[in-house]
Point group: C2
Chain length 159, copies 2
DNA sequence: TTATCTTGGACATGTAATATCCAGAATATG
DNA sequence: CATATTCTGGATATTACATGTCCAAGATAA
């Protein structure tokens, strides 16, 4: 899995602590963890294209959450960055095996492919069942100072 | 996920249909699906190192299952090829964030990391609960001619 | 009008997967 | 014993993709 997923998760979480209506620039979000701003910006664009973030150009512009954190699942974020394809890609080996046919879609009929897809479905189900709001609540319970510290960073960003 | 997992799955399944005690060469296993023999051999070596296959050098040598199919889970095969690491690698971004400390292992404490690990655990649990014997039984039910066709390929391999 | 910020494309770099080749060790067979 | 077969493991090449940078153009607040 690409590192962009981790960046996106943390950035969305940080944005969930921004003042309502406030847009945060890619530069400030990158400064949080010393990430390359231009590259993080690419991930943020992907989140915006997926409808998770909304973007605003120009001065006082930047990114903000486009939905309530309760409406953003962790799966949404993963799919926005990684795409919708399964990690296990069935190359339809059976097509070249004994009795293999060009007319059969082995992604659907190969038993191995089915088992791997079933396992990934469990993974997706777990991620779909957890929202940004869940994560935020857990963090706030364990580290109550985090919201304030985050907003402070937004206002008083280094560099 | 690397394509080697798919090759390994199909090769183990094919080996489960070999005559008891018979070793099958990497060349013949590769001929099944027109795979590059030398590269498939590398994957088979990894399976052997993991104890899933046993290997025999010399004439009449090759690979065979080292355990009963009931004792080989799909997770075993995936781990043998892909390694034990999670797909989501926590880079401990929080270390550089506000209040981050070099003395904390954020792979354990970061809530995002925990959520991602929990999801992968569900994936692993699904794979661990399915064995090569399960897959073989399903295939034999749906395609009863497969065992015979596979053994025939072993004996009468092209090239 | 100017400075800020996103957008998207082009391009460079680095790294891992994929693939090939070879020398050496093991071993069945005659 | 001699030979052919096959695995073992390292070296190396190739390719694909992730990572990262840069720039011109468009949008917009002040």
């Amino acid at each position: 899995m690409s590192e962009g997923v981790e960046w996106a998760m943390h950035s969305c979480l940080n944005l969930s602590w921004a003042e309502p209506g406030e847009a945060v620039t890619a530069r400030r979000l990158a400064a949080f963890y010393d990430l390359p701003p231009a590259y993080l910006n690419k991930q943020l664009q992907a989140l915006a294209r997926a409808g998770i973030l909304s973007s605003v150009s120009g001065p006082r512009g930047g990114f903000r959450l486009n939905r309530a954190p309760e409406q953003i699942s962790l799966l949404d974020i993963v799919v926005a960055i990684e795409g919708p394809e399964d990690a296990f890609r069935c190359e339809q080996l059976l097509r070249k095996g004994p009795g293999g046919s060009d007319d059969v879609d082995y992604r659907a009929h190969c038993v191995i492919s089915q088992e791997m897809r079933a396992a990934e479905l469990e993974w997706r189900r777990a991620l779909a069942g957890r929202t940004l709001a869940d994560v935020r609540a857990t963090v706030e319970t364990r580290f109550p100072h985090t919201p304030e510290a985050t907003r402070d960073r937004f206002v008083n960003a280094p560099t």
